[in-house]
């Protein structure tokens, strides 16, 4: 019925796509001016690579510093996909990412043991803190450790906001309940799962005046936007350790392993480690992450 118009449509579509390709995707193909200016960066054979990482590294702004520096130094173009550690490792398992920067050590060890990831390397750490309402209805301030805090919150049935998204933070929080021998609070009327990133979860915690477990970097990035003080910190169980891994190239020959390795090597390089240690000091007066490359696992120190 519209035989002629279909031919026209094809032509128009083609034109539109070409025009669009030249304008909108220009940013993809053109190297950034800074990279072009750097004489030390030979263009890699396969410049496009995907970094799957946690929301904390993006929401805190750390990646805004590290990724441009990496791209300048190496000529790679990094696509940063910020999801929970669980989702990031699933991407790695499927071959949908070339390098993983995650913070869920137990899950990572299994990931490596199962043959999905290789070259797992310590990058940095900071810590988790338990925050909550100023009034502290569960009376956790001054508690000895995480187990006591979790027990008190559960006993008082105080509002608790959980990530509930299988992220590194979520897995750590679930572990805290377990370590405190509190029955899994999922489904309790005082226990809410947002299923969202750390930033969004902090906002929910503020509005519902609940307790939550957060990494310190995202918490500091929310300075001035939260009226929830730190009520517990310093427990060794609250250590937050970030590792970088490359998906197993033997299993997934199609991933950009060279790119993944380059990013891994970049993260543990001395200059980058210095950059990580300095990040946030100008804005928050303290470091958000502590560089750890080449050191023993913080849990074993």
């Amino acid at each position: 019925m519209f035989g002629t118009s279909r031919a026209q449509i094809t032509v128009v579509l083609g034109l539109v796509f070409t025009a669009f390709g030249m304008s909108a995707c220009g940013g993809d193909t053109k190297p950034p001016p800074t990279a072009a200016a750097s004489p030390t960066a030979p263009k890699p054979a396969r410049p496009d690579m995907i970094l799957a990482t946690t929301t904390s590294t993006q929401d805190s702004g750390l990646l805004d510093v590290l990724v441009p520096a990496f791209q300048r130094a190496t000529g790679y173009q990094v696509k940063v996909i910020a999801v929970g550690s669980g989702a990031a490792m699933q991407m790695g398992e499927r071959g949908d990412a070339d390098v993983l920067l995650v913070h869920s050590p137990a899950v990572e060890e299994k990931f490596v043991a199962d043959g999905f990831g290789v070259e797992r390397t310590l990058v940095m750490h900071n810590d988790f803190v338990v925050i909550g309402p100023v009034a502290d209805p569960a009376g956790i301030k001054g508690s000895k450790g995480a187990s006591e805090v979790m027990k008190k919150i559960a006993d008082k049935r105080a509002t608790f906001i959980s990530r509930g998204d299988s992220s590194g933070t979520d897995i750590l929080e679930k572990g805290l309940w377990k370590a405190a021998s509190v029955a899994a609070p999922k489904g309790q009327s005082w226990y809410f799962e947002t299923g969202q990133g750390m930033g969004a979860t902090l906002t929910v915690a503020r509005e519902k005046q609940g307790y939550t477990v957060t990494d310190r970097a995202t918490f500091l990035a929310f300075t001035g936007k939260l009226d929830l003080p730190i009520l517990l910190e310093g427990d060794p169980a609250l250590l937050n350790v970030y590792h970088v891994m490359v998906p197993n190239p033997a299993r997934l020959p199609k991933t950009n392993t060279d790119g993944g390795r380059a990013f891994k090597n970049f993260l543990v390089a001395a200059d980058t480690q210095k950059l990580i240690g300095e990040f946030g000091k100008d804005k928050y007066g303290q470091a958000l992450f502590f560089p750890d490359a080449g050191k023993p696992e913080p849990t074993e120190r």
Binding site: I9, L13, S23, Q58, K79, G95, D96, G199, A200, T255
Partner: protein, 232 residues
């Protein structure tokens, strides 16, 4: 309340200084949603006209699918396209995931049912006598479709606007297939979500206001076309 004024001030500041790539993000938003609306129109308008004017088996089923498709949640469309385009997916070798192209595909998928459904409804609501009249004048199929489309041009314009409105404001599919990559697939909606996650509510609201201005501008242009068409 303070937050709203802060956001307004922040919006003005962002627009004045161009900080945070607002201009490139806004331009990218217009380009990507414009392209997906165009694709959806090129596919959807002929199908809508065909459903309204033609007679073929499966016509009703097609209309039912289009009508149901107007409620297609962007996240579902996004997930579907993502599964196809992920490296591990059947079309992974095309390397389209996390590019503007992937966003156009997903958004066209969202907008096409809207265009089909609105276009079909608009043409169907033309007076039945018109069909007879045009046919009686001895118009061929091509002429018949052309004349009917001309008569229904306002409805077809609304169909295109519906498609545009459906994609410019969505965030689920854009995030899933685009990845919210700075400088490449970050559009106003995904940038706003990112700023919310970072606690920069003023910036987020400012981006929202810019999106609103963009929508108002586009609909103003379309409305003025509508008004001109009407006067003729």
């Amino acid at each position: 309340m303070d937050l709203i004024f802060d956001a307004l001030r922040e919006a003005v500041r962002l627009l004045r200084t161009g900080d945070g790539d607002v201009y490139s993000i806004t331009a990218r938003t217009a380009l990507i949603t414009g392209a997906s609306t165009l694709v959806a129109s090129l596919i959807g308008l002929p199908i809508g006209l065909g459903i309204a004017l033609g007679r073929f088996p499966g016509q009703r089923v097609l209309l039912a699918i289009a009508n149901a498709g107007t409620g297609l949640p962007p996240v579902v469309a996004g997930l579907f396209v993502a599964i196809l385009l992920w490296r591990s997916g059947p079309l992974g070798s095309l390397g389209l995931i996390y590019t503007p192209w992937a966003m156009i595909i997903a958004q066209a998928l969202i907008a096409t049912p809207l265009v089909v459904s609105f276009a079909a409804a608009g043409v169907m609501s033309l007076p039945p006598s018109l069909h007879l009249q045009v046919r009686a004048m001895g118009a061929g199929t091509g002429q018949y479709v052309w004349l009917m489309a001309r008569e229904a041009r306002l409805a077809l314009l609304v169909a295109v606007m519906a498609g545009f409105g459906g994609v410019v404001s969505e965030v689920g599919a854009a995030t899933m297939v685009g990845g919210n990559l700075s400088g490449s697939t970050r559009v106003l909606t995904t940038a706003a979500v990112l700023e919310v996650n970072r606690g920069n509510f003023g910036t987020a609201l400012a981006l929202g206001l810019i999106l609103l201005v963009l929508v108002v501008l586009v609909s103003a242009v379309l409305t003025s076309v509508q008004a001109r068409v009407r006067r003729r």
